[in-house]
Symmetry: C3
């Protein structure tokens, strides 16, 4: 059974943190500075919340050394309090372990291979040629399509669809509503109508990736759409066919990447940002929210597009002028020329 409580001293030792205060204090959960109680552990990781420290009723607080003097209760001092919190908080996440075995309602094709230790939930469909490795948990209503592989210890939370030729690495976590391996959007135009391009590739997802709710990842037209390891996708992200995302890149909700774009490693793509097709982004590129990337980026750094928010009346006046920017530039140059010749 999961343990449900720890002393502060135990936590300090286990996570190699410096303890200040009473190590025998018992902790059975985590909470925010504002609402944690005396048996809960809180954390301070951002200056935004520093003012809440002095009034906290938490049993203890994970914080940086600089905040220790202001802490009214016991403390665990960490170089990176947010990271330390992330690790400790896992102890207090009590999800019942999935029971290995195949739910009687599941429909598993004769040609599928399910490891003994895997758990297959209600109404799951596993099609021919699919492989589900050991320790995998497949929640209700998931579909593991033809020739898909779900790597060891991965978890499809619920209602995830792997369409076909999708390979997930180990410890991949996929949230409800995600669709992986759907047809890429490929069309050729013939005289007066569209002709569909067959989508013959697959999708390869590396170890430790996380795919958000209702995110879609199309399979490749000829070769594979690829996410390297530890890629983290939030909800409602769209990854088109033959995109390649480098390891450890994270994308916030509603970001979209068009076909054959190649994103580097350790990139951060902001919420609702877009990347056009066939572009390349170097490693460690950050795109801010709602920006559109229209050309390749060769240098690490932060990039943006868009205009600032204003009250609608001011915005309307300024936006109307945007339509004349080129003309303004010419008029400005003419004035300068006039002055220089005066």
């Amino acid at each position: 059974m999961d343990r449900t409580q720890y002393t502060l001293a135990e936590l300090a030792e286990r996570f190699a943190l410096a303890l200040h205060g009473d190590g025998s204090r018992v902790i059975d959960g985590v909470g925010t500075l504002a609402h944690a109680g005396p048996r809960q552990l809180s954390f301070l990781a951002s200056g935004k919340y520093a003012a809440q420290l002095k009034d906290t009723r938490a049993g203890a607080v994970i914080l940086g050394a600089q905040d220790l003097p202001d802490c009214p209760t016991a403390a665990l001092v960490a170089d990176d309090p947010y990271l330390a919190y992330a690790k400790i908080a896992r102890l207090f996440e009590h999800r019942p372990a999935a029971r290995p075995g195949i739910h009687p309602s599941a429909v598993v094709a004769a040609g599928a291979r399910i490891a003994e230790g895997a758990s297959i939930g209600p109404f799951v469909v596993v099609e021919d040629g699919a492989v589900v490795e050991d320790g995998v948990e497949i929640g209700p209503h998931c579909i593991v399509g033809r020739d898909c592989v779900v790597g060891a210890q991965s978890r499809l939370v619920a209602r995830v669809t792997l369409v076909e030729r999708v390979t997930l690495g180990k410890r991949v976590l996929v949230h409800p509503g995600a669709v992986i391996g759907s047809d890429g959007f490929g069309l050729a135009f013939e005289r007066d109508h569209w002709v569909k391009i067959p989508q013959l590739g697959g999708v390869r997802i590396g170890d430790d990736c996380e795919i958000g709710a209702n995110t879609t990842i199309d399979r490749g037209a000829l070769e594979d759409t690829v996410l390297e390891e530890d890629v983290r996708l939030d909800n409602q992200i769209q990854i088109a066919h033959n995109v390649h995302v480098g390891a450890h890149t994270a994308m916030a909700g509603c970001a979209a990447v068009a076909g054959s774009a190649r994103i580097g490693r350790y990139c951060m793509i902001g919420g609702d940002a877009g990347v056009l097709g066939h572009l390349e982004l170097a490693d460690r590129v950050t795109i801010t929210a709602k920006s559109l990337v229209t050309h390749s980026i060769r240098e690490p750094g932060e990039y943006s597009s868009g205009t600032p928010l204003q009250d609608n009346r001011s915005w309307r006046r300024n936006a109307a002028r945007f339509k004349h920017l080129d003309e303004f530039a010419r008029r400005l140059a003419a004035l300068e020329k006039g002055r220089d010749h005066a």
Copy 2:
């Protein structure tokens, strides 16, 4: 059985509207000014459609007093014709009532509690600790996860997933594909890889909320993501963890709100608009479509960002100049200085 027809006089009385014309006329449906027939009721609520009034073949029209002189048929005069239409039209929505009871294909955990009057459709999964109250209708393929509560008279249309620790109030309506209670997107960075932050909170949805198709609402990291009562979300909206949305706020399709943002009451968030994390919006703030909110808004009013649509050639010229706006500002100032010193 549902009644399927009403006389105009009955409708006038029931909805407290002034009747002009033959009260014995029978109405059995509603329609647009352009296409309603003599047994249908239409309405005029926007000047955009005023020109269609004179040619309408509708049996009667709901309209404001100012349009009465131009009405060629019977009329029901309302202060707010659109609102009156909304209420009357419900009479003509003939959805068969869901049959109470649990469909034999549903998988209901022993530890779940289903009210007798609730209706549970085919292939529904109800997990341990879940509560489904009276009069609830849960359509096919829905999942009511661990410790979720579906309040009385709520309806999950079909294929809705409540992941865990989600509480819906009364009369909540959730459309297909919505995912509520998925993991928030929380990550800490450790040296060279991501560490997931456990998402230990839940989601609380107030009475009379409506959640659109394929909308996603993540559960909180520590405390809950909250929608107060009568919040109306269109399709494909993304609500991140720990967002708080005030009562009666409406969001149009594809809007997205990042983590811990706090939206006021009676706000209107336009289609595909975005709100960055940790911001606050006052009550009665309107954000126009596709705008990005990058700072807190303290005053009610309408706010916007973006640039106007132009033909691509003009747009390209102007957009290129945008990259030099700061330089233009300096050159403009230099010219002014020159003039003032001349």
Copy 3:
């Protein structure tokens, strides 16, 4: 059984292409210029990949006459190599044919009509009044709601929801997670709360349309939401109630169209572009990615909004100036006036 290989001469004849090189060469698949092997056919359709031609190991290449001199292997010369590729590649797409019949787990209402040649997969729900025509393939977890019609030879890949009053034409292809026929987002405001407008219309989808993964199409408020024939929608597109999309129009991922907008024929709507409600777009209008259409467009052509991507520091400086554009315009005019009067 599907044939799995063809000689080049057969392909040349079947698709009316000029053959250069050894017609007896056997082809059993397709591949990219960079990775195709000697039994695979590749294609060159874009200058972007021209440099890869000289090193290709493909058995043959489909290309335009102008590239023939640089081709190191056999070739099939086409006026439109991409289109020729699209057609030939279909030969090598080996999807097992769906077996006609109804999977024993499916729940089909007594009042539904399923053609004998249709294939109904596991956990499918077909409700009363629904019609599934001949040759239709309905994959696992789909819902065909009340009074929906699925036209002959259409395919719902998996987990597609047709909510109610949805009519699909022939050969319509719908990808996983799509929701068609959900309630339009219609609200009237009463004093201090919202009143829902019943959504009494349906959705009509023409022949040969394709609907992407997790795309949503609401049904009309009174009349129908309409997609004419051969409309192609990518993933995560949102089509609001009463939108009308003309034949052969294509929309890229995450595009959104608000209520009652009318899009012409042969339009191209870019990724994440938006169209406001009640607007009209003429035929052959192209909207570039992430642009917002705020007024009707009467002329064919390409239209855009937005600002170019820059490094964040430059962008911040320029964006800040955007808020003063109107003032700049006035100051510029004042300077010009001063000069003209000098």
